[in-house]
């Protein structure tokens, strides 16, 4: 970590915003249906359980990285050697890029469905990637700044929940614990996609000043995400009954429709537009991390890596055409994310433990 100069680093508390924004993406606009499928009105328990379990993963990630004082690419290299380690890093970067593509393409779909049905994917993608480029080129400080400002710009959207609560049926939530544990665990698995993204910290952790101090902020960030999802799902459950919910693809988005202010109604137009400040930090942190990873792996300039990456993301975005493909993409990334977080990270953790033990005995 010593090679990164201090004026390029960011404060430890910044990780709070970076983790929350990465976790809250486009999924929150319509995740209710998927998890309510298996756990019904008890799905909120799955949200909490799933979220809490990620605290363990965050803890593991910090242990893995802090031990070697480097990022995941360095860890891979020292554990598995140059070639296998490098291959693993490439696979991980591929997964990270697929997160970026998924988020971006899903948001573009939301825009096309709700606001501009005629607008081509390539138009929004180009504008969006150009925008992302202008941030990422400024380095991690600018990207983190976007995460912070985006957080504060979008947080007032919470207030819109008031309209749903006003006309909700609170008995929808009762009775508690009606579903079996297996059902709830199945729903917990479905929650994963909504929490993935924070693992990008595997790359940007060395850029935090005093990374040890930042761990508590990472956990706070995760807790805040749990809180966000919990509020969202409870409000949706209060407003819709389970039957309705199964037919509503974008449950949270639909809730914005009922907003009725004296000077504006149909707030989803403004809401979707403002949601850009949730999506953009996601995309930027993702792009920054992948380009940084490529820079570390292949010794190419981060700028050129970024440009190539933008081209790839753009192509991928326009290749995905319809709802089925987007759904498939979301499911695949979700599944891969699930295995990476719950299997690969613990595996890495254990391997590293063994390695250090072996090295210690060897050395003395």
């Amino acid at each position: 970590m010593s090679q990164i100069s201090e004026n390029k680093q960011i404060s430890p508390y910044m990780v709070f915003y970076m983790i929350t924004t990465m976790q809250v993406g486009v999924g929150i606009l319509g995740f209710e249906r998927y998890i309510a499928k298996s756990a019904g009105h008890d799905a909120w328990i799955a949200v909490v359980l799933g979220g809490l379990s990620f605290n363990i993963i965050i803890w593991m990630i910090y242990r893995i990285l802090l031990k070697e004082k480097t990022d995941i690419i360095g860890v891979h290299r020292s554990l598995f050697g140059r070639w296998i380690g490098g291959l693993l890093s490439v696979l991980l970067l591929l997964y990270f890029s697929s997160i970026v593509i998924t988020i971006l393409r899903t948001y573009i779909e939301v825009i096309q469905i709700w606001v501009f049905p005629q607008l081509g994917t390539e138009v929004i993608a180009i504008i969006f990637l150009f925008l992302a480029y202008s941030y990422v080129i400024g380095g991690i400080r600018v990207v983190a700044g976007l995460a912070v400002l985006g957080f504060f710009i979008t947080i007032p959207l919470f207030l819109l929940k008031y309209y749903a609560l006003k006309s909700g049926h609170y008995s929808n939530l009762l009775p508690f614990f009606e579903h079996s544990i297996t059902e709830i665990l199945a729903a917990t698995k479905g929650v994963t996609l909504n929490y993935v993204g924070f693992e990008l910290i595997l790359i940007y952790l060395p850029f935090l000043k005093q990374p040890e101090k930042s761990q508590k902020w990472a956990h706070y960030g995760n807790f805040f995400t749990i809180f966000t999802y919990l509020i969202t799902i409870v409000v949706s459950f209060v407003y819709y009954n389970q039957e309705q919910l199964q037919h509503t693809i974008w449950a949270t988005l639909t809730l914005w429709k009922i907003v009725d202010l004296p000077f504006a109604q149909r707030f989803e137009y403004a809401g979707i537009a403002l949601w850009l400040f949730v999506i953009l930090p996601n995309v930027c942190i993702g792009l920054w991390s992948v380009s940084r990873g490529l820079h570390r792996l292949f010794k190419i300039k981060q700028k050129s890596a970024l440009r190539a990456l933008l081209l790839v993301v753009f192509t991928a975005c326009i290749l995905v055409i319809d709802r089925q493909q987007i759904d498939m993409m979301n499911n695949t990334v979700s599944k891969v994310g699930f295995y990476i977080l719950y299997l690969y990270i613990p595996f890495l953790f254990v391997t590293q433990l063994i390695f250090t033990k072996v090295r210690k005995t060897k050395n003395g």
Partner: protein, 502 residues
């Protein structure tokens, strides 16, 4: 290719070097070519010559304070003269370069013989000054009513008398090949961060230009990003404001001949704080500051949102409001964007015309333009009433920005917003905002982040950003300035609680 290379290799010879290589006689010849340069031979008791620019030196000074002491005394050489003159800062020199600089600034040259290359230089600066007047661009109802004038020394006096401490430091640099403008970099030693001071001094030193006639030249030349529409240093005409920001640990830069000081490193929120905010109670000041910020937002966003909603998202308009809008836009032949651009441009025209004309005519233009053209445009069915109200309110709101340069920026910002609103509706507005944000995040002022209290988030500095907390809670200087002395006062003593009957 060769042609270009040659050009690069031979840098323009500097004029100062040219002048330095003159001989004394050539210099005198050059000077005498001007009609206002006079050389007088004095030969009452002993003979000597005095030469000066009649337009720079007050003749009264020459007779009253100079000749009176030396004409009736026998003099041997220049040292004799120097002994008898009751004036400081007299130099004896034969350096032609120095002589040339000083004489053109208003020094009096004394020689024993016309051919002597050695001479005395007597300072007698009498530049014409304007009286100190009331601040006009940053007027405040309460508080001091002094504004800077065009003389650097007067201006420094105005600041120094507010900060009577030895730490108050003025570094002077001369900038500009022709104008040789005196530029002062002012800071309080021990409070201001030395890195900031060095940045400022270095940047001023690096200026390479022939004439500097105003501090706004310097502002553009030393700003971190010259292509940004956002001003990166605050331009103020109030000595009290300068004294107060110096005490915060900032740096001020002043140029001779300019009635404005530049202060920095600054942050974007400072551009929306009027100095009057500090003269009012903190509750009032905070409220007014918030109103001002909302005014700025309204000014930038209102007409783009009108265009966006009417062009793409008319579903967003509630039923009751729809009737009003329809009635207003019923006969308008133009799409909203054209309507908005026409109105915005005509407001800009009015503003520009008002600014260029003498005050009295300017007011008339304002009335004619605002009322007559506005009403006529609506009656003719060219624009809608609603938009007219929005645009003129937006113009009004942009005037609340206390710093003039910033209000210009806000004027300009509206147009990209308008165009992107026409392109992608509300989403376009947000995208445009995101682009501006990316620019602002990258912007720095003297190397310090531009949107500092917001990002990097500094909770301490937020006490004097969007709102202004009471003085008792402002016990620390802004963290983002990295001041050497972080404490403004002793918090304990300031907030000491007294018992009921103490």
């Amino acid at each position: 290719m060769n042609f270009f290379k040659k050009k690069k290799k031979q840098p323009e010879p500097e004029q100062t070097q040219n002048r330095g290589s003159l001989t004394f006689q050539e210099l005198m010849q050059k000077l005498s070519a001007s009609a206002d340069f006079s050389t007088v031979k004095q030969s009452s008791v002993s003979t000597f010559y005095i030469s000066y620019f009649k337009t720079l030196v007050n003749p009264e000074f020459v007779h009253r304070d100079l000749l009176r002491y030396i004409t009736d005394i026998p003099l041997q050489d220049l040292d004799d003269i120097q002994k008898h003159l009751p004036l400081d800062d007299i130099t004896k020199t034969n350096d032609v370069h120095d002589i040339s600089n000083k004489v053109t600034e208003g020094y009096i040259l004394i020689q024993m013989n016309k051919e002597d290359t050695e001479c005395l230089l007597v300072p007698s600066l009498s530049t014409e000054n304007r009286q100190i007047s009331i601040p006009e661009t940053e007027f405040s109802v309460v508080g001091p009513k002094e504004a800077f004038v065009e003389s650097l020394d007067t201006n420094l006096n105005l600041i120094r008398k507010r900060l009577p401490i030895p730490e108050f430091t003025v570094k002077e640099v001369r900038v500009g090949k022709l104008t040789k403008t005196r530029v002062a970099i002012i800071y309080i030693d021990g409070i201001a961060d030395s890195e900031n001071v060095n940045t400022a001094i270095q940047r001023v030193n690096d200026i390479e230009y022939d004439h500097i006639v105003d501090s706004s030249y310097i502002n553009q030349m030393i700003s971190d990003n010259g292509n940004s529409p956002f001003p990166q240093l605050i331009d103020t005409e109030r000595p009290d404001r300068v004294a107060s920001v110096l005490a915060e640990g900032k740096i001020a830069i002043m140029a001779d001949g300019s009635p404005h000081a530049l202060t920095g490193p600054t942050t974007i929120v400072e551009f929306f704080s009027a100095f009057e905010d500090y003269f009012l109670n903190w509750v009032l000041a905070s409220t007014i500051r918030l109103i001002r910020l909302m005014g700025v937002m309204f000014s930038v966003l209102s007409s783009p949102l009108y265009v966006a909603v009417l062009t793409f998202h008319y579903e967003m308009i509630p039923e009751n409001l729809l009737a009003t809008l329809v009635a207003s836009r019923n006969d308008i032949p133009f799409p909203p964007i054209l309507e908005a651009i026409i109105l915005e441009l005509s407001i800009e025209l009015l503003r520009e015309a008002g600014a260029r004309l003498p005050t009295k005519v300017g007011q008339t233009i304002g009335i004619v333009g605002g009322i007559v053209i506005g009403t006529a445009a609506v009656q003719a069915g060219l624009t809608s009433n609603v938009l007219l109200i929005i645009v003129s309110l937006a113009a009004l709101a942009s005037f609340t920005t206390p710093v003039y340069q910033m209000s210009n920026t806000i004027r300009l910002l509206r147009f990209p917003f308008l165009l992107s609103a026409q392109f992608l509706g509300v989403l376009g507005v947000v995208i445009c905002f995101a682009f501006i944000l990316s620019h602002l995040l990258k912007l720095t002022s003297l190397g310090r982040p531009y949107i500092a209290p917001l990002y990097p988030l500094r909770t301490n500095d937020l006490k004097d950003a969007l709102i202004r907390m009471p003085f008792s809670s402002q016990n620390n200087r802004p963290i983002s300035l990295r001041t050497s002395d972080k404490k403004r006062m002793n918090k304990k003593r300031a907030t000491e609680k007294h018992d009921i009957e103490d």
